[in-house]
Symmetry: T
């Protein structure tokens, strides 16, 4: 079982950016925790602020991994191209968000990814990633 | 740790209604499985097709339980009153859906509950309930 | 041949409410007439002002009756849950309205039921029910 | 009792066009059946693909016939002019559709005719015409 | 002079729910105050979280009381059926709200009741009920 | 000076259709009056209920007449094609309406013709035609 | 206790304009009645048809009076500037309307003032002013 | 026969402002021409850039003049209050515009005045005023 | 190989109408060129300004020709009926436009035909027809 | 070099109104500072709460000054007439706002002035005026 | 004659991604065919999933090539920046799509490129590229 | 004092692209001028056509520079991700545009950046950058 976590724009600032809102744990720290919590799974991780790089990541992992966990950040709401990539690949994709996007601005309520994802988990902070991994069992 | 699962309209037909779409497991059968899987938690369950009854359930559980897992079915998309009830109580509420509502009709993309929920989990079938319980740990 | 007529909110006032608009015949009186006109059919009737009760009625009749004639009144325009119930059951449903809803306010032009109904008949007053019964022959 | 049936665009293809969707009975064949079923009524029929011709038909029949049964096809959704013609004449008009237009594309949900019609019957295939005739008794 | 006060969903939590927003006086306590303030009037009171129950209350009081004071809570914004009930009865109805609904979310600005009410009073907390009673003198 | 008056759908019923709204003078009678009032002008007149015929009329008159007075009736609000024809010809076109279309239904407020017309005159009954002729002096 | 009543456009015609709709009592006459009914309060009154004058009135009274009762007439629906003025001053403002604006045209349903007002009272004719004064006790 | 011409904002710049678009004739010059052309009519004229002043002008002339010709300029599209004033007075009002407003920006296509006006004339430059006077004969 | 070219409203003016925009070649002249360029194909051509005539043309050619090239002009954007005809016939239809409709007014961006067409070619002037023919090889 | 600063509604309250939001410096105080900072420029200033007065100010300065700095306050978002005045005059106009209007309510995002202004500066408090003057060098 | 083909996001998966929908020919294979079919033209090709890279490609080819054939994939519908790049360069651009985008989801009907393109060709699969090349002859 | 200027898509073409619209000065030339004009400030500059690169630039400068001047070009109107980056960093950002974007197409009126920017300056050509620098004094 091989799972790829793909993080999108501004998520490299996690732990630095608005810590009262997003906490002060970096994704790298949480990533170590995840690997310990699920020792039987091969978990990998990549991040980019570039929309097209996320598409490349999806293409690369999308025909051989067991699952992809995708937090596309703000591109969730604007990128038809990422949605198309999710639809084009074979690996099932779980869409996650740290915050409850539905409790935020109107323009964050639409997702071009959800339609092609297997499921959506949002609002549980970093724990959203762990729940997504659980969903593959 | 005491968790209340509240199911809304038409969910009493689970296992009977469109089995190719929703599976042929009834909620009662899954409920037994859940109790076995999480023996350390007190899990309770109630269902109604009446919008106001769901509000009553939320009021009753909303000041003493550890968590509420709410699948409000189609009322999710039309009931400001249930959203208000979720906001009025003290117990955190997780919104769940069996299907990926974002891959369905436009009118199922809006939720009056999400805004007041702690998080949202959808698209994992009955497993959505188990993931919601996990989120309380 | 067994047909269930389900009437929704405010239809219990028929004959009393705005008689110049809806006539002064009560549904009960018309119900007797219908039974006489179609003696070979078992016709039953129930009414509720509660949205969830209408869903219960649909569930109860929806797996054993030949047909259901549903006048959901104002819930027609707001209830996704009743639409889902119509979709979930096996018995075909005919949507009827006393008045021509399309000649009334804009918000009465949308129906969450029509999509799942076998057909729609509106604008013929109480005769709409008789035409709906005819449609089953 | 004299009734005029007016059919609009593409209805001349009935029985030929997409038979799995519309059946393989031509309107002419059904027309013979209708005349036999209602021998006491004078039923006439005309068809055109031209919007303005339908207006002419309405003007011609609209001051002397007992009733008009109008299936304006796709013009139903775009023609204010046909709606005005229905409003301008004296004979009551019943709007019919073979299919349940509300279960089809969004742009077929609006009708400029309904507002001026006596009633609407849709979704019963060719039987819609027979029910419309019944409504005049 | 006989006045019926009808309260809708979540108003049973008044004094308990978000006291910093709605105050810590229960409706029952205020109800006693109202009866003392207007000793010459027969004031009655009922509450339900069920939409259809509110319709029943309106039907019951709507042909014999002098006035009805209706706080339909969140159903104000979604219930065409309650609006129809207000329109169907004979007793004049005053729509009241504790908070200034126009200073809240967009979806609380629409009311299906106002159109059929005699008047609207909102934003004065529990005093809104007293002003509504004054309006009948 | 040669002026063509082109009338669109349902205007052939003028004097017959809803006389309390449109008066009981036929266009033919008014046409005689117009010719007497403006003896120095050659006034011609044509009418059709067919949208494409109105386009033909515009093409025929649009390169040789001094002016065209166009009452396109309900096609005003739906026909981009007539608007294109007005734009394609050389003769200036005055758009007229008997009634004040802006005091009627919302869907009569848009005109695809106005944008290409020289001017618009509406609301003066049959006198609208005379004012349009005056505008050419 | 010092209260300023500010009336907006066309309210100077009260008693003259459409008496069957607005009654034939002038505001001046009612003003005398109000002063008699509340002898312990200093009530003042001003009116203007000019939007900016109403802003001046609000500025003048807005830092020293106990309350302001504002009937901004049609400016209610279009004036962000008056809304800003209400927000900028210190004195609480009650928004009143003679008629039930929600039962009138769509464009009268929006108010730029409500958001900043303490409360809203509408639909009680001239009595709306008296109820507004009551609300200050 | 006494006719009042009321001009709104920016019309005082006529002849100075964008002469290639509006011509270089001032309204005063045209006003002299109008008085000569219609010697049998008493024509008066007033102008203001202030919305409320236009309302005052309408009130002053609206109960004693034969007709009012109103060019409310840009207030046409934003002022519900002027529309109300037109509706409140007794004298019939003709709405005129120099340019064809329908061939201009989208936000100039709506008019709050048209609904209450007797008729609308636009697009004929200054001649629009003369045609409006003709309409009173 | 038999191809039918169907041209819609105002295309009969090609070469005459706004030559700086559409060129000064008539369709007839281009038609001769097309026949010479593709001598191995039987190319036919018809034109009408009448919407219903275009439907007739589609019905006539739609069950026996190899392909149809349809330039429905302005009806493209308003005619659901032509779209239905394209859907009802068997021959594949290529939608063409002389100009790039997407670079023109908003209301020309919607097409009721595209959905049922095999492909769309626009913006190449008369060459659009030649490219459409090429597409059948 | 002669520059006119025109301030609109509620800006006379600057320094008094919501000081935590707008600061406690009055415009008069800042005006003195501006004159000292730019001694080589003739700076003038006027303010009104009346929309039409602002139009008068624009007309008066608009044909002889080097530049106009316009803070039209809330009229920015509702006044087509002020926008027309800016367009009608010759002097270039810079639109300024104290606050970043784009970070405020939706209805403050539209401006009828921007389209005709030379440039827009907002969000720098009173410094916005100084930057606007700089832009003329 | 030098033509650049620029392909956007997900087009690198052609032949692999959903072969029943897009065929199993890779673009590279088709590219060889194109070069053989048009031996007299210099055809080049580049692809990227990164929006900004496509802009770079357009800048690089846009001042020296005879033509550009752009299939911007999903960026077609969201990228104003690519539209601006097409507008900024000198080489004419033909917009192509493999599928008939108008027969797909609503959000694929808008294109920010079409407005600046010379023409649009869509729905002919890989043949769309060959037709685009033909258009340059 | 250290200021970073970040330029977005197509701005590398400045001086080359449409010189009659944007002038023929390159940004590099202007950049030298800026450094000379403000010798006491450290001004740096970077440009990319890639959305994600702009986010990287913002992250890099956003925790140590005094100010950022951001001209995000067309990404201004579509990129929620850049808006999030502006919100996530600590350095204040001034949004600038060369042209008055509000006088251009509707889709350029929305900005996802403005909401998080300190201020907005647009319409002054390259001088917009100088004014933005001034704003930091």
């Amino acid at each position: 079982m091989k799972i790829m976590i793909i993080n999108g724009p501004n998520l490299n600032l996690l732990g630095i950016r608005e810590p009262d809102k997003y906490g002060n744990v970096t994704f790298e720290a949480y990533y170590i925790y995840l690997k310990e919590k699920f020792p039987e799974i091969l978990i990998e991780h990549c991040q980019s602020n570039v929309e097209g790089e996320l598409i490349n990541f999806l293409h690369n992992a999308g025909f051989s991994y067991t699952g992809i966990i995708l937090n596309a950040g703000a591109y969730t709401h604007t990128s038809i191209a990422i949605g198309d990539a999710v639809s084009a690949i074979k690996t099932p994709v779980i869409e996650v968000h740290l915050t409850n996007v539905f409790a935020r601005e109107e323009f964050r309520h639409n997702s071009f990814i959800s339609k092609h994802a297997k499921g959506v988990i949002c609002g549980f902070g970093l724990k959203s990633y762990a729940l997504a991994i659980e969903s593959f069992f």
